[in-house]
Every structure is written in C-alpha cells, then in structure tokens.
Amino acid sequence: MDDKKKSVVLEALTDFITFVSPYFFYFFSLENAWRLIPVCFGFFGLIMLIVYCAKIPINYNIRNLKVRYRTTLLTALAFILVTAVLTGLMGFINGLKRLAQATGNPSNVIVLSQGSTDEGISNLAFENMGDIAQQEGVQRKNDEPLCSRESYLVLSLPIAEPVPGSPTRRLLQVRGLFDPVASAEVHEFGLISGGEWFSEAGVRPNANPNKAPLVEVVLGQGIAKQLAGDRSQADKEKARNKEQLEVGDTIPLDTRELVVTGIMKTEGTTFDSEVWAKQSVIGPLLGKTNFTTLVLRATDPEQAQKLEDFFTGKDKDFKYEKSQVNAFTETNYYKSQSQTSIQLLIGTILVATVMGFGGVMGVMNTMFAAISQRVKDIGMLRLLGFSRWRILVSFLTESLLIALLGGLIGCVLGYLCNGLQATSIIGGGAGPGGKAVVFRVVVDWGVLGIGLTISMLMGFVGGLIPAMSAMRFKPLESLRG
C-alpha cells in the first residue's frame, strides 16, 4: 500500500472512530445501555427480514445446527459463560454506582476542610462551623440554621469468633452527631417502627450498675445485618432475630457496650453501612474530638449549588473569605465517590474484551469447520442461483443464532445475581479515604443490554470472516471438493 492509500485509509478510520465514539459511549453507559436490547433484536430482525425477502434457505442452516448439535452446544456454552460472567460483574458495578448516585439530597451542601475531597481526611475547625452555618441560603428552623455537625470516623471492631483465615476485625463507619434530631431532618432518614433516636445524653444506664452506661446508637439496615453475622455462636442462638440486630441488642466495644436504639431506613444509600451515635460520647471514647463534616440544608437545590460556589470561591464576586473550606452539594459529593466503580468498570470492559476475543476465536473455529464440511453444499447453492451475499448472510445468520441463544441464556444466568448483597468500597479516586459499603447487585435492563450486545458482537465478528470465506467459493471447484 503506498503512502497516499495509507493516508486515505487512516483518514477513513479516524472519521469512522470519530463518528462511532459518541454512540459507543452513549449506548454503553449503564444508564442508556437498555436501548441496546431493541437494537440487538432489531438487528437480528433485520437479518431475518433479509433472510425472508432474499429467500435464503434458513431451514438448511437450522438443520445444520441441529445435526452438529454438540458443536453448536459447545459454542453456545462459550457465549453463555462470557455473557453470564460479564452480566454478573456489570451488575456488581451497577449496584455500586446506583448506591453512590442514590445517596444525598440535592438541597444539602457538604462542607469539609480545605483541600479535603473525602470525609475521612477532613478536619474542620469547630470555631468556624457556626459562622459557616449562618450564611444566607441555609434553611432556618425555629430561627436556627438547619444543619448537621458530624464527625466521621472508622472503628476497627473485633469479630467475636472469626473464621480461621478470614479477617479478625470489621471496619465500622461511625458518624458522631452533634444534634441527632437536626441530623435526621437534614438527611431525611426515618427509623423503622419500634426504634427511637438516641437521647440528648447519648447514653443510657446499664442494667448492671457496676458497668459503664450503654452508648446509644442507631444503625443502617445493611450494617445491622452484617453485625448480626459477626456475633458469637452463643449470642446468635440467644438472639431474637438471627439475621439482623434489633432495638435493644448490644455491641461490645472494649469495656463499653453500644446499645441499638433504632434502625434507620437507609437502604440503597451509603448511610446503610453506618452507625450513628452522639458525637460528644463516641468522639472522646474513640479519641476523636474534632468535626469532619458540616452538612447544610439549603432552601432549594439551586441555592445549594450557589452555596457550593460561594464556599469554594467559584463565584469570584461573592465568595466566603472568613476561612478556607471545601464544599459540594451532597449529590455531587456522592457522585464523585463513584470513581471506584469507574475503575472497576474499566477493568471489567478489559476483561470482557479479552474474554470476548477468546469467544470469537471459538466461534470462528466452529464456523470455519462448518464451512469446510459443507463446501459441496455451498457449491450446490451457488449453482441453484444463490448469490454470494446470500451465502454470506446464510452463514452469518447461523453464527448469530448461536450468539443470540448463548447471550439470552447467559443473561438469564447473570440475572440470578440480581439483588444479592455485597460489600465493597466507594471512593473519590485520588489518595486515601473511601467508604466500605453494603449494597445490592443490580442487574437491570442496561446491564442485560450490554451482555446481549457483547454476545451478538462476538457472534457477528466470529461469523463474518468464515462467512466471507464461504461466499468466495467457486461453484464448480466446490462441487469437485
């Protein structure tokens, strides 16, 4: 190929990639991927329409798949495995992403110390918090700003009877609250009936007068289930509910005990993995007296965005100058925490591509073998008047049929993962921090759309080259064998 031809080809390739990329990113984002399902079926329908209109002998192909049923099944098995694994993995990532996106109220603004992008490394000066909360745009109740002063900390809690070889401690995320009632109002979380928020004191007397008072806590539903599993066998047998901690249950913490006063309705948010307690009690107990987070309730989402701009200095004419802080609307903050799922998504795409490539090799083998066994049939079809492109469509349809069958079964298997409870970390990417979260795997139409599309793509790519070789056969030479 001379230089001129090369540059034309390169230019065409660049144009093609430029044209296709936006569609690729649009369709393969988890939000829009459900649209791939009608695209897949539409494409398959189009092929079938061509088969019908061009009178391509599809019965011949179907019969061939039945006759070589072992090869068909083995090839379909490769499709099933790749699609099922991919769908399960994407469901895991989708669950993480959904969790991060579903957390947070658009009218809330999270204020952290300057430079902090994660609560775990924030360190707010207490003396500045009052002034920050008094700014215009913050909703007021009973003439007081509606805000939540919080101290986010991670507790390393020993597991009562760890399974040998598994972790001996659980990292527990604890949120110390200055005023639990205000915090509940800011975050809009209620309690499951039968529970109550912790008292003003944050502690209650221990039944054993020789022991220190019990520290009152409320739990997210997810962590309540996990902590129930961490209890000793004896405690599990005595428990009223073996699956989940309930109001009145206690959690040992060295010489102290935490008592559950309520379970929060937090499912589907990152708060589901948290333990909330009175900051003035839990902070000194764990040696953390500073605040990490101030959550302000703005009058509306628009005002929340203005407050974010005001505190971060994005608005040059109207910026907060008394202290330097970092601020995000709560929804933006939790969206930024889905960086981990993006990293996992990239890893999954790479794995899927490589696995898909392996699957393509398998399909190609099958189709090349199918063609080599049917050289005389192809010659006969050509002599009967079937044009080259009809032969191509005929063999391509065969491979697409296997791909569709394998893809659909793979999607069904992947769907079995839907709703499973899992744990992982979400975080903003750069540096330490991140939150351990409990979430549910979500295999939705978007995930199924990606699974089915990958399967169909494998079938298309794996079938196209052998089908092209089949269409090149010359009728008489084929009949001679």
């Binding site: 040696g287 696995m355 540096g431």
Partner: protein
C-alpha cells in the same frame, strides 16, 4: 520422535484452526495470569511468615490510627521494661502526610501521599525495598543519604513524579490536607524503584516534626493534630513466640492508656483492611477465573472435536496400517496438549515480561496497593493451564476415536 513429528504435521495441516485456537488460549491465559497475580500477591501479603515477621502497632479502635509521637520510642523498643523482655530486631514509625502541590487544585495530578519516617528504615523495614538487587539498592541508598543530610529531601515514586510533572532535583511545596496550615518545602532527591511504591512519597519524619514545632512557635498554640501525629509503628521480630511475648508486653504496658493501642501481625492488619474488598476478590477468585478456564476448555474441546470428526477417514487409515487405538488417542491428546502448552506458555511468559518490564505492574487500585507485579509463578502457569484445559477439553474427543470402525468408514467411502 516420529510420533512428535506426526503431531506437529497434523497441527500445521490446518493452520487456521491451530492459530485461532492458540489465539483463544493466549488471550484467556493472559487474563488468568493477571487475575492470579493480583490474588497471589494479596495472598502473600495476608499470609503469615514463619520467621522475621512484622507486627503493626496502631490505635486500638480508630482508623486512621492517630497516636501521640511520645509513644514512638517505647513502641520501637517493643514496650520492653525488663531485661528479659523481648525487643524487636528492627522497627519503623510512620506518620502520614496527605497534601497537594497545588493549594487550590487538588486531584490526581497534584496529590501527595507521604510516609514520614526515618529514611534509613526504607532499606531495612519496607516490604520489597528490603530485598532489592544491588543496583537499585545502591541508587536508593544514595537518595536516602541525601535525605539524611538534607531533612527537606524527599523520595517520590516514579508515577507520582510524572503525575506532578517534576523531576529529581526539583523543589516543591506540599500543602497539608490532613495537617491544615502545615506547608512543607521539599527537594526531590530520588525516586523509588518501579513497582509497589510508584505513587508514594517518603518524607523525613524530623522535618514534619520540626514543622509542627515551628507552627506552635509561630501561632502560640500547638497544631490541632500535634498529639496525634504517629500513625503506625512497625516492629520486626524473629519468631512467633517473640511476637506473642511482645504483644503481651504492649497490651500490659501502662504507657498506652489514652489512647489504647493494639499490635497485630502485618498479615492480619492487611487482611482486615482488605475485608471490604472480600466480595470483589471472591468474584475474581471463584467466578471470573473458573469461568475463563471453563471457556478455555470449551474452546479447545470444540476445536479438537471438530478436528476428530473431520479426520475419521484418516484415523481409519491409521488403524489399517497398524496404529493401536491408544496410539490414536495419544495422537489427538498430543496435538491438543502441545497446542495448549505452547500457547499458554507463550502468553503467560509474554505477560510476565510485558507487564513487569514494560508497564511496571498491573495498574489496579485495591486498598493501599496501586499496582501489582506479575508473579514469578506466571512463568509456569500458562503451560500448566494450557496442559490442564487442553487435556480436559480433548480427552472425550480423543476417546471417541476408539469408536471409529474401519469397516464403517470405508463402506461410506465406497
């Protein structure tokens, strides 16, 4: 030898099929090599050593652990009070400094995560740096000497250095994120060897502590974190018994009441940190890797089944000229295994050299591990996977050749 040549000839006869099958094996072995390397590395990090193992002393309840620096000297001594008490062979303190080279724009390209420690401990206590080859060790030693003579000297990982667009010899100002209002003016005196510490930075602990003292002198009050600067203390002990004794010394010491401390083996500490990733690792270990191996077996099985079906006549001829059924089985198995072993070995050995030598590790962030080397085991994994999957995939098609009856085949031909 003749048998081997026959196998080779058969593989060459249908080059397209052999190449397609090899390509399928190679890509799938590539993924398995990456997954097993990540899992193997984490397994090594969480498995206890029999001797010279390390313990980590941290705050008993909270993460991140924040202890007063006054604990350092006692803990470095293993809290030994009596002559008969166990003392560590070596020890090291870590103070984390999280900062940015740009005060207003904090992100991947400006971020600094540093261990503040005694520079000399880099070569004796840090995993992997304590077992460097003479060349890289000498280079790092030179940088350590520079840090010791200039306490503002820092060592920066190679990827971090590239991210902040600096080079050795440059001076940078690091604005504290966890230590608010602490700004460190540093000079880059060297880099870590490529690999595990690519994204980390090492600062001389004396410089951080002096900066905190300077803060107190300037502001008339100690820094809010002044009593919480010590994050971890590492101790190296010779045996498990010594570790148990030291553990008891630390637990019973009256020195560490507020806040209390705990000691755990390094493997246990890492294992606890990785607990949040347990499901992800389980997916990799028990779902992805087996699914790839099964896919690989299916791909090989398919290719060999097709090959056997296409060559029924040829096998009948082999039987006529005196080949025993078992020899034909070995012929089919041999073709599959040769293909599997060769393709698998090429893939995993290629992955080993490409990932370790060219891209410097598998870039995948899990907890504090940002990249993983392909383990030495990869040099034989590919061949082993190729052998096992090709054997499993071809045994049934190979056994099916026993049912080929010469009379049947030739009656059809006739």
């Amino acid at each position: 030898m003749k048998f081997f040549m026959l196998i080779l000839k058969n593989l060459r006869r249908n080059m397209v099929r052999s190449l397609l099958t090899s390509a399928g094996i190679m890509v799938l072995v590539f993924v398995i090599t990456l997954i097993w390397s990540i899992l193997g590395f984490l397994d090594m990090a969480t498995s206890e050593k029999a001797a010279n193992f390390k313990g980590i002393v941290t705050e008993k309840w909270s993460i991140p652990s924040q202890l007063p620096f006054s604990y350092a000297s006692t803990l470095e001594n293993g809290a030994a009070r009596e002559e008969s008490d166990v003392k560590p062979i070596d020890s090291m303190t870590w103070q984390f400094f999280i900062g940015s080279v740009d005060k207003t724009n904090i992100g991947y390209s400006t971020f600094i995560f540093a261990f503040c420690m005694e520079p000399s401990k880099l070569l004796t206590m840090m995993d992997e740096l304590d077992s460097l080859q003479p060349g890289p060790r000498a280079t790092l030693d030179k940088a350590i000497k520079a840090m010791e003579s200039n306490r503002q000297g820092i060592i920066v990982g190679q990827k971090r250095l590239a991210a902040i667009e600096k080079k050795v010899g440059d001076k940078i100002k690091v604005f504290g994120i966890n230590y608010r209002d602490i700004e460190l003016e540093c000079e880059i005196v060297g880099t870590f060897p490529p690999g595990r510490y690519d994204n980390n930075t090492c600062i001389n602990r004396d410089y951080l502590n002096a900066s905190l003292d300077a803060f107190k002198a300037a502001k008339g009050r100690p820094h809010p974190l002044a009593e919480k600067t010590l994050n971890l203390v590492w101790v190296k002990v010779p045996t498990k018994d010594a570790f148990s004794k030291m553990s008891s010394q630390i637990d019973n010491s009256p020195m560490f009441a507020a806040p209390p401390v705990k000691i755990e083996t390094a493997s246990s500490g890492v294992s606890n940190f990785l607990a949040a990733y347990a499901d992800l690792l389980m997916i990799l270990r028990y779902l992805l890797a087996p699914a790839i191996i099964i896919t690989l077996t299916v791909v090989i099985s398919n290719a060999i089944s097709i090959s056997v079906r296409e060559r029924r006549k040829e096998m009948a001829v082999l039987k006529v000229i005196g080949f025993q059924p078992n020899q034909i089985i070995f012929l089919v198995l041999g073709e599959a295994i040769l293909l599997g072993v060769m393709a698998g070995a090429i893939s995993s050995i290629g992955t080993y050299y490409f990932v370790n030598r060219v891209i410097g590790g598998i870039p995948f962030q899990i907890a504090f591990f940002s990249s993983f080397p392909v383990l030495d085991g990869a040099l034989w994994w590919g061949a082993a996977i190729g052998f096992i999957t090709s054997f499993a995939g071809s045994i049934l098609p190979a056994l099916s050749t026993r049912s080929i009856k010469v009379v049947d085949v030739f009656s059809k031909v006739a």
